[in-house]
Amino acid sequence: MSLRVGADIGGTFTDLVLVGEDGATFEIGKVLTSPRRPDDAVIEGLSKLVDGDDERRAAITNVVHGTTLFTNALIERKGAVTALITTKGFRDAVEIGREHRYDIYDLRMKRPEPLAPRRLRFELDERVLADGSVRKALDEGEVRALAQTLIEAGVEAVGVSLIHAYANDAHERRVAKILAEEAPDVALTLSSELVPEIGEYVRGSTVLANVYVKGIAEQYLSRLRERLKGELDLPASLFIMQSDGGLCEIEAAAQAPVRLVESGPAGGALAAAYYGDLLGHVDVLAFDMGGTTAKACVIADGNPLVANEFEVDRQYQFKKQSGLPVKVPVIEMIEIGTGGGSIARVDALKRLQVGPDSAGSDPGPASYALGGDQPTVTDADLLLGYLDPGFFLGGTMALDVKAAEDAIRTKVAEPLGLSVLEAAWGIHQLANESMASAARIHTIERGKNITAFPIFATGGAGPVHAFGVASILRSPRVIYPLGAGVMSSIGFLTAPMSIGFSRSLPGRLDKLDWDGVARIVGEMEASGREILGRTIDDADIGFNHFADMRYQKQGFEVRVPIAGGTFDAARHDDMLARFEETYRGIYGHVMEGTPVEAISWRVVAHGPKPTLALPKAARGESKDPATALKGRREIYLPAQKALAEVPIYDRYRLPASAVLNGPAIVEERESTVVVNGAGRIQVDENSNLIIDLLTGDEG
């Protein structure tokens, strides 16, 4: 009997789950995050789960971990004193960026400062051309002198990103060697190792982000490993969740911490894919709504969509291109400023607006009675009867109905000449509208038809709003998993070991350097084997191959899944067909006769997918939901535009296979499932709630 642990460090809580391979053991732990030393909370939570049981301690084989620590260090600018070494003439590439305005009306638009200030961006008089040929050789004396300059300037970390290093890495390697001799204490990242892809701005930015947090990552990860062994005496191996949904060992994680920035949300997306699969849905829209933001992620054909680029430290959290680009594989997600704490206000056009500014948790919504006087989504949910003032967070926090009413009356209802109830409904529904719009545009941009997708609802406010969002999107079904509060940790335990590689070798498909492609793909596969081979059997290692392809002269590439095997000219037709299939899937058409180019090549090496057994709900005698009835209360029903009494159920007492009908409320500790219209509610054997939306005859 072996046990595995998933541990996710979030902003407020560190969540843990402990599961056994047979489904009998399934325990959840939640402790407050310890921002100063995040490992403290992990150790605390784990020791609670182990609970002095030596048998249990010995049975834990894996600890899978994800953290936002590195993202926070990037946002708060708490990383190392970082320098950039680049080719002569290019020290400003990371500052000049794309020369682009991401907001055309905002004259005060800000751009993020590069992680290496200009005075710490150094140039070497060397040059490689686009074809990889050396135009000007590296002067080793110059590198040695520069090493001294770095030390004198107090530099702790150096990113090396030389022009065209993706095509020829010799100079970067030589620089690394010399720095290792002359400045061995300085952390180092090479662009040709981390992100050998064309584009000096994004490559340089990625290298800087990585090396900026590398010291923090090395220290933190090795300390955590030591404490797991030393303090808890756990024999378990420690694995880290990467942003693309694969796991790695801590050595790889410490080398490329920038690949971990979105580990928590990646866990949530994996959980959605897992539950979707369990219920027979290969396509799912994962929807997570918390206190300040909502996130949506598309699961297509059983897997979350993966993008090749991400942004950190956005100047405006919800504006694309306002941050520092990092070219790392990441599960693609859209995040918008709509959460329980989002503030409602009346704008200059006398329109009701919700978010993106948020009351957060301090002072929080007016109903928290912690000093907040702005009306929020949570306040509206309370007045609509969707939340029970005496059962918020399982009854641990009383909500002040009067404070919510006052805030909504004075700030929204009176200015707009509405009743408080109408205003509350407006806030609730506009929040739903903006989340639905964001999800819809996200799927349109990816060529998916969202109306066919069931919604997987998580987060504190997700279950309150998911039914409304599904109604707007005309989704057929909403799935509410049990344990929505620890979904990321559960997702971690469904992730296979994996490591991704990429290399640029641009060329027209009909004139491609196939020998070159075969060589780099072979090298990437060999690296994958070597790294994964440390923890898994060679026979269990599999590979996924992708090419970033486009029509000639297009400015962006699509990620095309391609077969592995031999790479030679005979592959041309197959590659073209796969490109066209992917392209048509996204854009609805192809451009026959236009030459096709392949720019970068990607190999993802992965181990087997672990199986995760969920606990089965106790099979009672009765399937009658009445046993779980807590009472009845009035909630707002949009179809009737009025309050009406509906049954309130206790989720933990609902028997498996029970079927009930909306409108209804199902309460659990961390959230409340609101069904404010017609729907058929089923409880499955794993205690998940599944609601099928009924259209036409609206309740």
Binding site: G89, F90, R91, D92, E95, I96, R98, E99, H100, R101, I104, Y105, D106, L107, R108, R111, P117, R118, R119, R127, L129, A130, R135, I163, H164, I198, G199, E200, Y201, V202, D347, A348, L349, R351, L352, L416, G417, L418, E422, G426, Q429, L430, E433, S437, R440, I441, I444, E445, P506, Y551, K553, Q554, G555, F556, I586, Y587, G588, H589, M591, T594
Partner: protein, 547 residues
Amino acid sequence: MMAIDQITLDILWSRLIATANDQAAALMRSSFTSIVREAGDLSAGVFDRRGRMIAQAVTGTPGHINSMATGMVWFLERFPVDSLKPGDVLITNDPWKTASQLNDITIATPVFKNGRCIAFFANCCHALDIGGRGLSADSRSVFEEGIFLPVMKLIDQGEPVEAVFELIRANVRTPEEVMGDIHCQIVGNEAGAKQLLSFMDEFGLEDIEELADEIVTRSEAAMRDRIRDLPDGRYPYKLTIDGFDEPLTLKAEILVKGDELTVDFAGSPGQVPLGVNVTLNYTAAYTTYGVKCALAGDIPNNEGSFIPVTVRAPEGTLLNAKYPAAVGGRHLVGHFLPSVVMGALAEALPDQVMAPGFDGLWDTHIAGVDRRTGEHFSYTWFSAGGTGALSDQDGLSATAYPSGIAGVPAEVIETLAPLVVRRRELRTDSGGAGRFRGGLGQTMEIEVLTDEPYLFSGLYERTKHPAPGLHGGRAGEAGELLTNNGTTLEPKISALVPADTVTVLEMPGGGGYGDPKQRERDAMLRDVREGYVSVEQAAEVYGVEID
């Protein structure tokens, strides 16, 4: 009292904007024209049956956004609304009716419910090619600039008007891409129409007249409120740019009276025999954009927000060119208009304006023979200088304004063309000095891998007339075009230059804001430490001695 309740209105309004955004997103992703895809050089919007724009995608460049907004009436003048039939799709690229350049194609699609036209979806996209001389300022009349498409039916009750398709196809250099984009434009409108009809059903709406009235009325009222906050008066300003044979002085007077604002360009130059004349709707587009940036960036763009603003220029002048003037390079003048507005409003709205910046994109075109392959090549790219400072913030270095283009990485340039970018760096001391400093321009040094003379043509502005500062701020550094071997190049004249010529583009900086002597010492120290400002300039202009 309206029949649509407040909350339903808010929801429908946000749905309309979302629909336009969806349409723009789909178009942008699938376009074959890099400027559409990367710079969002397109616009998409929803119009009521009277041709009033009621919602627009939050994207694009001002030239498209605002000229499309006012362009729908021309479609209706040619095809009265009740003469249209389901399945009709209309097209035009008439520069006098839409975006002032033949490359900008507008496609409009009427939407029907119960047999009645209830709305239009339209979008305007920059076509990769439109025939003629190709995108240039060299023409003497619009006849040389490409194929001119008057307002016509492109699809008639579901049947493609083959003659129009064939004519376009036969007149452009890149028919696949151009026809592909037109196809995307049609599909985009259809998708928008489908979404509109679907949510009209959901809310039981038969038409959108009442919704449109409400949107227009409220937006107009909000815009009028903002204008009313301005003191009544006349606010003149003039801005001189390099122009072509001689400098051009763009002269404007803004008249604020109650809740109306008029921008009058009387006294600006006359029409020129080059392709840089601007049609009035394009002049209005960039002018209203400047007004909106300063006054009302948060008010949604629709008919209502345009009503209180009037833009005038005497007919037959540079800013109100008469058919058949050449207009292909109208952005070379039009892009400076927001700065004219800013300058004029600087007294009335000191905290809401931005000092003039480099404004006009630097457009570089190089063609020749690749030494390594012997093949001919031709490559064009755009670069940005510095933007102007504000009353509380420095300008942005090497960042586009008012156009929204994106630059191309040097590694990509070198992969696509036999060019070596020897330098791309910020230009020290080029930001206009001020309490807040203008953004820095950038320097690019370009070598060509060729053994034969090559063609170099640039369209570069602000080489003689730098971006002025505001409220005591100094002008940014002017741009410069240099070579390594004594070859002299003019900023707007194409030249065949010796193979070994290395060109250096020194791009202009933005204007400063406020007295440089008042710049905070910490900001000054940082500028010098990071090399944005030299020790010499710090001492001479800012009066700060730093060792």
